[in-house]
Symmetry: C2
Subunit: 377 residues, 2 copies
């Protein structure tokens, strides 16, 4: 297997910054990947995603296999061409959405059968089929092994059984993926909140050997403290020279605290989902633009971000658009939120490169917590 | 009153092409004005509207006075600044939407009182208040007199009563507008489908004297033939040297046939509304992108139009987006439709300038009618 080169340019505490070099372009780390669930980062044009600073986006295997269908995307030239995104794409394995969205799941050692949440049609997903969809049909630059997302909370025995099955699926995923020159495969560490299980999972994956290591099974209700604790004992076990990807996380504060613990990659639907619900993210937390106090606020969302949505439109105008249910309100807020997330990553990369990450983190946490009473409104 | 200069560069039959020169930029005629009902051309960024070829947009007084409120827009610097549109804006008077959207209307010689369709709040609109909202508070470049939209069909006596009241309101609108250096006011010809009433209305307006003349009360169910007939006997009565604006029209074929009858300006919600409902316009009529035949159609909507939505995205991708209910589907189709409408106007302007309008019109009608069986599907 050919790892994408991962050059770590600077390390500051556990935090690191660098570049993953892929044939479709470099990924500056720590990286935030906007989520393009159904072959579109919701309410953004692909050029906006790229100009906002995203080097890589995520596509959802579960959604794409159901609609428009993985074979169809393949016949249309693959996911990059289909959705007009020329940079790298990471696809998830489909496992998480089967677990959270589909109906009538049946799990077995072989894989999972389920009914589509769209039309009730029957489908199945095995480690081998997931790799076929991701790497062969969609043409993902980075594929993920199929895993089982362990429910939280789970008894230890259940977390162990589930983690061990994910490990066996990891082996089958790697075998199905084989050796590829221009595509990579990541394994996923499971084990819920149990330190020894996380360690066993990480070691099992490293024995198999992957191009990168994801931390799964978080952001499922365990809370901020538990997430930090899992990272505290999980990232040190992972190889220093390979990318670490924390799946499905999170709020800005989660990103900062995870980067502090050595995470390199993130994805989350939060910026676009919040945007469609009238919220703008900032270092001070989320701001609800529907709030009457913005009705005549002539200032932009954030003049320091070089994105038209952040800089050129007044809060009063966006307030009006959101109240009126206009498309442009969701479009501007989703765009701003992606730009804000990417700007936050850029600020963290700079801070790490300059050996100032701890100061950045302290400043960020001060801003984040300064406004908590306000946000609770 | 200072008319905006209207230079007619070429005449071909009754069709004409030229430029209306306003302090905020020239309007190339025949012109199509995208409708920015609630201070946004739905699902488009203002830059896209302008780059698609629109020189002027329309704002709806009724919607803006209810939300965010005309005084609020004024405090925020006027409609241009509020919505980031630096070109000319024409506002309607609010009369049509009061008639079509509001509840519990009470019409009198003085004006109309009504309840908001948004929150039931009580409002009133008089010729004087409409001018205040349009010209003073929103800051429209072109304001429209308040009129009563006569229902179709109407008995002759009712059409005459209504037209005569609109004429008295025209006089009051003109008096309220006064003399302005940088803003214009248009009168509206009413009279339903009755030739003598339309003539009487036009002559009455010309006696008062306006900067331009709109033809109202069409596109309200009278049908294509009746619309053409009304234009046949109405445009010849209007002054040659002033812009003629056909309100609320229409399909591409309506625009071509109206330009052939001497109309200079149009507005219609059709391109954006159709776009939100999965339809793309073309010289062959509307095309429903939801249709299964587009599922693997790798061609763009119209490679001849210099708009990314028309040229760079495949029908298969847009089909997928529409089926999946994604924002980007509505965004791309609305953008394409505005670009198509503006491209159609540009092609008509060129044909008139080259003395080839009749040939253009014949070719267009052949394309339009060639596909009628298909469209009926």
């Amino acid at each position: 297997m050919t790892h994408f080169p991962f050059e770590i340019a600077a390390v500051d505490g556990a935090a690191r910054t660098g570049r993953i070099q892929t044939p479709r372009g470099d990924i500056r780390t720590p990286a935030f990947m906007p989520v393009g669930t159904a072959a579109t980062v919701k309410a953004l044009y692909p050029e906006q995603v790229s100009e906002a600073g995203a080097d890589i986006i995520l596509g959802n295997t579960y959604h794409l296999m159901l609609r428009p269908g993985a074979e169809r995307v393949h016949r249309l030239g693959g996911l990059h061409r289909f959705m007009r995104w020329s940079g790298p794409i990471l696809t998830d394995s489909g496992g998480f959405q089967v677990w959270s969205l589909s109906k009538l799941r049946q799990m077995s050692e072989e894989g999972v059968t389920f009914k589509s949440h769209i039309d009730g049609s029957a489908h199945s997903l095995t480690p081998e089929r997931s790799i076929e969809i991701q790497a062969d049909l969609l043409g993902a630059d980075i594929s993920m092994q199929l895993d089982e997302c362990t429910a939280f909370p789970s008894p230890r025995e259940e977390a162990e059984r589930s983690m061990e099955m994910s490990l066996r699926w990891a082996k089958r995923s790697k075998a199905a993926f084989g050796e590829r020159e221009t595509q990579n495969l990541f394994g996923i560490v499971q084990g819920s909140t149990f330190e020894d299980l996380r360690r066993r999972s990480a070691e099992g994956l490293m024995e198999i050997g992957f191009d990168g290591y994801a931390i799964g099974g978080l952001a499922v209700g365990e809370g901020f403290e538990a997430m930090c604790e899992v990272l505290d004992f999980t990232t040190p076990v992972l190889p220093l020279d390979r990318p670490r990807y924390l799946m499905g996380v999170g709020k800005p504060v989660d990103l900062v605290e995870s980067v502090a613990r050595g995470v390199d990659m993130f994805d989350c639907v939060m910026p676009t989902r919040s945007g469609r619900h009238g919220q703008a993210w900032s270092d001070y937390g989320p701001v609800n633009l529907k709030n009457a106090r913005f009705a005549e606020d002539d200032t932009p969302l954030n003049a320091a971000i070089a994105c038209p949505a952040s800089r050129d439109y007044s809060r009063a105008y966006i307030h009006h658009l959101v109240r009126a249910g206009e498309y442009l309100g969701s479009m501007l807020l989703s765009w701003h939120n992606i730009a804000y997330y990417e700007d936050l990553m850029a600020r963290m990369r700079t801070a790490i490169a300059e050996g100032e990450f701890e100061a950045f983190r302290r400043g960020f946490l001060e801003r984040w917590h300064s406004n908590e009473k306000d946000r609770a409104e």
